[in-house]
């Protein structure tokens, strides 16, 4: 009987993540992204020197889940708030965690300019192509023809424009030293995403500049899909508009190896 | 005449729809009404409730400090609202989920085995329709006809459900009339 065999735990909750239930919907990408961020901080021993800035969005309550200092920023202003924090504590680790409406709509100017200044901040960008918290309105990232409560019949290029690719816009700035787009809907993708997050964090520790990891993330609730279908939609639809991979890397880490 | 009813239950139990049916039925009957759904602060997956006020005169507050009728589809709802019911008020309980009785003795109680009755009427999914039928019958707020009209108006566009829902509503009325 298995009881006779000794087992050792090979997977458990990271310390940077409080042991509490979240308010996220079943199959929501936020939950996985939270765990990856927490694991990365644990692996790099950063929890106690980290100050995080959650967005206004479904992750607004992230300070209830992450096990380190956090401050709420007004919608879209996480990177401005983080800039203030980092200038006071250049020796601490500062990250923002933002949704696509927060980062790519109302926060566009703060995002572009924090990147352009090369602020030593790491930005986790959850792109779920929708306004989750407010109930499924169109986001600037919403795909063409994707339904949204403010885009009846689906996003129309002529009326609403194309999905915005803000990460590629950021990549134009020299201050942005690392930008990668990953997804959260397969074992492989999740492992990749964690690697990208750790690399982004490393650039801050090495004082290189601004780094961002965009995570394509399922929102079953507002996409009105089952978790399974939502995960498949990310793989089959989202990645066409938002191809995965490194968008910019001037860290020179690879060369060093 | 003014009657305040609170419908309360789990998110999935069609609580808001019950209130919506009552509202449309009352409109059809020519009454004034207000419909106030709980919103916001209660976050996803929580319990839902709505307050429906019917009157033959102008209605002031859409919020009810003391409902005349509580329709409790689950136990937490009974717990939450029992105390606020007016003296001599009515509590209609979903017997299929609520075993315990109210503590108060100064209110009338009707226990409706919604799921069982709905199954009889064709499908368990009609539990909330059975309930609204029973509530209207017991309280006399709406006639069977008005209730059915209310259902149809409330579910405009979903005509294919009308027959099943009508059956369920009728079952609710019969339960009150015949006591079973």
């Amino acid at each position: 009987m298995s009881a006779e065999v000794a087992y050792k735990k090979v997977f458990e909750r990271p310390e940077s993540l409080k042991d509490v239930p979240t308010h996220y919907c079943p199959g929501c990408g936020h939950s996985i992204a939270h765990r990856l961020v927490a694991e990365a901080l644990d692996d790099m021993g950063l929890r106690e020197k980290t100050i995080g800035v959650p967005p206004v969005g479904c992750a607004v309550l992230a300070y209830n889940y992450f096990n380190f200092d956090m401050v709420e920023a007004p919608h879209g202003r996480a990177l401005a708030v983080a800039t203030g924090i980092k200038r006071v504590h250049p020796d601490k680790f500062v990250l923002t965690y933002q949704g696509d409406g927060d980062l790519a709509a109302i926060g566009t100017a703060e995002t572009i300019h924090a990147g352009n200044r090369g602020e030593r901040i790491s930005c986790i960008f959850i792109n779920n192509a929708i306004y989750g918290m407010t109930g499924g309105q169109m986001a600037p990232t919403t795909l063409l023809d994707q339904n949204a409560t403010t885009a009846p019949g689906g996003r129309d290029q002529r009326l609403h424009g194309n999905p915005i690719d803000i990460t590629r816009m950021l990549a134009v700035s020299d201050g942005v030293v690392f930008a990668e787009r990953c997804s959260l809907v397969s074992i492989k993708d999740i492992r990749k995403a964690k690697k990208a997050i750790k690399k982004a964090f490393q650039t801050q520790l090495d004082d290189l500049g601004f780094s961002i990891v965009e995570l394509l993330s399922p929102c079953p609730t507002n996409w009105k899909m089952s978790p399974k279908a939502a995960w498949a939609w990310v793989k089959d639809q989202m990645t066409n508009t938002y191809p995965l991979g490194v968008i910019k890397d001037t860290t020179g880490y690879e060369d060093k190896k | 005449m003014i009657t305040r009813t609170i419908f309360s239950g789990f998110g999935g139990q069609g609580v808001l729809l019950m209130g919506y049916v009552l509202c449309h039925g009352a409109m059809h009957k020519g009454l004034n009404l207000t419909y106030f759904p709980s919103y916001g602060a209660e976050m996803r997956g929580g319990t839902a409730n709505c307050t429906v006020t019917l009157a033959d005169k102008k209605i002031a507050s859409p919020v009810a400090s003391h409902p005349d009728i509580l329709v409790a589809m689950n136990y937490p709802s009974l717990e939450k609202f029992e105390a606020s019911i007016v003296e001599g008020g009515l509590a209609v309980l979903n017997a299929s989920l609520v075993e315990t009785d109210p503590e108060r003795t100064d209110i009338e109680v009707l226990r409706v085995p919604t799921v069982e009755l709905a199954r009889e009427a064709g499908s368990e999914r009609g539990a909330n329709m059975v309930m609204i039928g029973a509530v209207c019958a017991k309280s006399g707020m709406l006639s069977l006809e008005d209730t059915i009209e209310g259902m149809k108006a409330a579910m405009k566009g979903k005509e294919k459900f009308f027959p099943a829902n009508q059956k369920a509503i009728e079952r609710g009325f019969r339960f009150v009339d015949e006591g079973k």
Partner: protein, 364 residues
């Protein structure tokens, strides 16, 4: 045709009323508890060939409204408290440039992100100009769905009549509540008075310029402000609106607006049942505040009880109106909870007794 009653929530009512009032240009950014309004219009504008744009922010949205209004369209935006704060610069510009537009604020609890329970803590911002400079915007405070529809019409008419932004001040609860509504008929856009100041290209006329910067050495800005204030005085003289039910033997009048007035009305019914004689004075225009009628009432009613869903904002206008003519009592609820008639009744009883148990006596 028979007048048809419609049952929809307050946010949808505003949207439908706006369309019927000739609004064809909506620009806004989502925020709870008013998302049902832009959602409704995103579909409705497609039916009527209007424009719905979800702006990239509240700041962008208010400036799109400015542009659409300057181009001659009936334009509106909507938001809730934090988003309205972001629109203040734009509102000040529109007031300075005399651009008509309608701004809906479905208030939520603050400060900061607060929560979305009903609240009325943006009264100062709305009536005193949260933006910079000496300007005013008419502020309409509906107390129910029927009024939401009618005051939405009025808002567009006042905006055009006075070439001034107009704000409709509701709250989250009002946006959620459903009541039967009879909508006014669609207006015919061609019936609206032509605007001789708009920008539509200078074909066959001199070019026009609209601006708020007045650098001139001859006090251009000074005189422009005097001109604006003559307009504000005219609005104050001609546009105050209120609703009052005051028995001749009233011991007290309750002053409340919006959702608070609905709660208060029920509380008053309770006290009437207990034998008290109490009136209700409900300002419908918050700016201009209906001072003359309230002042007259205060001359014959010994007590004035003010109830607000805030820590005390409108009460200042009541004080400025009533002065020492009557005893003033105040009870305010900050945002975050759903107020009940029972609690308000408590306050009214306490005010009648003057025992100061609930609320407090205000000294001018």
């Amino acid at each position: 045709m028979p007048i048809e009653k419609m049952l929809m929530n307050g946010s949808h009512v505003v949207g439908e009323a706006a369309v019927r009032a000739g609004c064809r240009y909506y620009f806004g950014y989502p925020i709870t508890p008013q998302n049902e309004l832009p959602e409704y219009l995103s579909a409705r504008m497609l039916d009527v060939g209007g424009t719905f744009i979800q702006g990239e922010s509240e700041v962008a949205s208010i400036n799109m409204v400015l542009g659409a209004a300057v181009a001659g369209g009936r334009a509106m935006t909507s938001s809730s408290s934090p988003g309205i704060s972001l629109k203040q610069e734009g509102i000040s510009y529109m007031a300075g440039m005399e651009v008509p537009a309608v701004i809906i604020n479905m208030m939520r609890g603050g400060p900061g992100l607060g929560n979305i329970a009903p609240s009325a803590a943006d009264y100062f911002q709305a009536t005193r100009g949260g933006g910079h400079g000496d300007y005013r915007t008419p502020v309409l405070a509906p107390a129910g769905s029927q009024e939401l529809a009618e005051l939405t019409f009025l808002a567009f008419d006042l905006a055009d009549k006075y070439r001034n932004p107009v704000m409709l001040l509701g709250d989250g609860l009002m946006g959620q509540v459903m009541e039967p509504v009879v909508f006014p008929d669609f207006i015919d856009l061609d019936d609206l008075p032509k605007k001789d100041w708009i920008l539509d290209g200078c074909e066959g006329r001199e070019p026009r310029a609209l601006f708020s910067m007045l650098l001139g050495q001859k006090g251009e800005l000074y005189y422009h402000n005097l001109h604006l204030h003559e307009k504000y005085d005219r609005i104050t003289a001609e546009e105050i609106r209120w609703d009052a039910e005051t028995p001749d033997d009233a011991e007290m009048i309750v002053v409340a607006y919006g959702t608070a007035s609905r709660i208060a009305e029920s509380a008053i019914e309770e006290l009437k049942a207990e034998g008290f004689s109490i009136g209700l004075f409900r300002p419908i225009t918050l700016w201009p505040f209906p001072k003359p009628p309230l002042r007259d009432l205060a001359k014959r009613v010994p007590k004035v009880a003010v109830f607000e869903l805030s820590m005390g904002q409108m009460v200042e206008d009541v004080m400025l109106t009533v002065g020492e003519r009557a005893e003033i009592f105040f009870h305010g609820l900050p945002g975050g909870i759903i107020p009940t008639p029972a609690e308000v009744a408590e306050f009214l009883r306490s005010a009648l007794k003057g025992d100061g148990k609930v609320g407090r006596r205000i000294e001018v």
